[in-house]
């Protein structure tokens, strides 16, 4: 699925957060969004998954303005792994994952055997095999994050939106989650804090600051000491290995 952001303006209250944003996400691409806190990453993603409404501009999925689609239709096109996932009532892991099937069901339709098999399979893929009957609120932050990813997988969409997906995860699961996301071949937009993770997995990077695009391109082109100094105000050195991998080292001295 192709996602096109067209001249997008978004405000929260009276404050303009996203300012005349334009970019295209190509089908099957993993696009990373980086930028300092408050740069508008989450706001942009929330507008794409329709929790927020743009003031101006539009978002197109495969050429169709999402405004013209129902929430249900949108939920069959994109799935979301967002940041905050604590519930005030206790669901089992299976209850949470099976909810990913909701957009595919009519109001009276019950979850079928296939749906439950899909849920079990998704849990296996995120490394939580056999967690079905565990209570969601007793899990660690990392396990919860992976349950939510399993729910997104079960939703079976062409596109995936991730808001800081590797938060709460230890390094093993950070790598595992990003590899899994990459292997789904979904068109993916991910807001990522860890620049090394972004460099390792993203096909292209969008750099966001104060709601504007400061750069867009492959990790090769984007990650330079100058850019990091300019965007984050910290000193960094970039090393490239023979295989073309990028490693970013930060200096504790500020600039």
């Amino acid at each position: 699925m192709e996602i096109k952001i067209d001249n997008l303006d978004v405000s929260l209250g009276n404050k303009k957060i996203i300012n005349a944003l334009n970019f295209i996400v190509n089908p099957g691409e993993l696009l990373g969004i980086i930028g300092p806190n408050g740069s508008g990453k989450s706001t942009l993603l929330k507008t794409i998954y329709r929790v927020l409404k743009p003031d101006n501009g539009a978002i197109f999925f495969d050429g169709i303005n999402i405004k013209e689609r129902s929430y249900r239709e949108t939920a069959r096109q994109i799935s979301v792994v967002a940041q905050h996932n604590d519930f005030s009532f206790d669901f089992t892991v299976e209850n949470v994952v099976i909810m990913g099937r909701a957009p595919h069901k009519s109001i009276l339709e019950r979850n079928s055997r296939e749906d439950y098999l899909m849920a079990a399979d998704a849990l296996k893929r995120v490394g939580l095999d056999g967690y079905e009957d565990r209570h969601f609120n007793t899990l660690s932050g990392g396990e919860r994050q992976r349950v939510i990813l399993a729910r997104a997988l079960v939703q079976n969409t062409d596109a995936l939106i991730l808001d800081e997906p590797t938060n709460h995860l230890d390094i093993k699961y950070q790598l595992q989650l990003m590899s899994l996301v990459k292997s789904t071949k979904c068109t993916t937009i991910a807001a990522i804090h860890d620049l090394n993770i972004a460099a390792m997995y993203c096909d292209r990077i969008v750099v966001l600051k104060d709601g504007r695009i400061k750069g867009i391109g492959t990790p090769e082109n984007i990650f330079t000491s100058e850019m990091i100094k300019d965007i984050y105000g910290v000193k960094a050195e970039i090393f490239r290995t023979d295989k073309g991998e990028i490693h970013i080292f930060f200096s504790s001295a500020r600039i």
Partner: protein, 346 residues
């Protein structure tokens, strides 16, 4: 626990309720044998005369006019309150919610107080206190919804806070009326009425109340997936294809209507709508497709039992059912929470 076990549990509770309904007909000021009751119930069902047609014998009158409506009302009210409790907890995403939380109780009290002390509508309706309470309850919850709609989206916290604020206004108005009316008998009537009773059950209002409650429960059972979604929160629900803000208002209106009718026919019965949903969750989990039937059955069983106790505990005296529920229910509730380490999911 797998799905089949949950269905079996619900079926067992339904059977318990049927047996309980039948046994509860035994109790009362006249001693009747099981045989008599069975015969009369069957005769009444197959007879083509209307229930209140004269000359069908004292046995028929005791069972069909006095006892059955009362027991059925307790059953319907219990199921309705428990289901509305579950729904309210989902609507405002808070385990402390009960059916009366959105200002319904104080609205009903205000209506009842005005009707009793100022005598409004006493000539027009037979159950004028009930009618006034119904109007008070529904009026306040509609007002809460309207106010919450001003200034964009209705969210859970806004609903709760506006509900609380309006409750205070209603309580203040009730106190004002009570203070200036200086009517001791009237105040006692209010007190009794606020504690709830099934003594006023009759065949005139029972079919209407039953129809509303049963339709309401069926509606919510059909909507079980949306109710699940409400507990995930507004944002997650949108990403799963449902804008729950819209549903929240419809659900609130329907449950206010249900509670309004229960208030009309049985007064205020506290605690059932808070206690039963939690006990049902301990037994069967959070998924609403099981939780709603489970809560409904548990609420019905509990209130029929409570009504039996308040009719028979002290001879020739009836204890208000609200007192019994709180006295027996609260300690059991606390015990279950401590024992099962049930932390409302937190």
């Amino acid at each position: 626990m797998n799905c089949n076990k949950k269905y079996i549990l619900i079926f067992i509770l339904a059977m318990v309720l049927v047996v309980e309904l039948f046994l509860s007909l035994l109790l009362g000021s006249v001693d009747l044998s099981l045989q008599d009751i069975w015969q009369t119930v069957i005769n009444g069902i197959i007879s083509d005369k209307s229930v209140d047609a004269p000359g069908q014998g004292p046995l028929h009158d005791i069972i069909w006019i006095l006892r059955i409506p009362r027991v059925l009302l307790a059953c319907i009210a219990g199921a309705g309150l428990a289901v509305c409790g579950v729904v309210m907890q989902a609507i405002i995403k808070n385990p402390l919610a009960d059916p009366y939380i959105m200002g319904i109780s104080s609205g009903a009290s205000l209506g009842a107080t005005v009707a009793i002390l100022l005598g409004l509508g006493s000539g027009v309706f037979s159950n004028f206190i009930g009618v006034a309470a119904f109007l008070g309850a529904l009026g306040v919850s509609v007002l809460v919804l309207l106010l919450a709609n001003i200034g964009g989206g209705v969210n859970a916290v806004k609903l709760l806070l506006i509900g609380m604020a309006l409750s205070m206004v209603c309580s203040a108005l009730s106190s004002f009326v009570v203070y200036f009316a200086q009517d001791k008998d009237g105040i006692q009537t209010i007190t009794f009425w606020l504690m709830g009773s099934f003594a006023g059950a009759d065949w005139l209002s029972l079919p209407v109340v039953s129809a509303i409650i049963i339709c309401g429960i069926l509606f919510f059972v059909i909507q079980n997936r949306v109710l699940d979604m409400m507990l995930f929160g507004d944002e997650t629900a949108i990403t799963l294809g449902i804008d729950i803000r819209k549903y929240r208002q419809i659900y609130m209106l329907i449950s206010s209507l249900m509670v309004g009718f229960i208030v009309y026919s049985a007064g205020m019965i506290g605690f059932v709508g808070l206690l039963v949903p939690h006990v049902a969750r301990i037994a069967i989990g959070t998924e609403h497709r099981f939780l709603l039937p489970m809560s409904g059955l548990m609420g019905a069983i509990l209130l029929v039992l409570a009504d039996v106790v308040c009719r028979s505990l002290i001879e020739h005296t009836e204890i208000p059912v609200g007192i019994i529920i709180s006295l027996i229910g609260a300690p059991c509730f606390v015990y279950m929470i401590i024992r099962k380490a049930y932390g409302f999911g937190r």
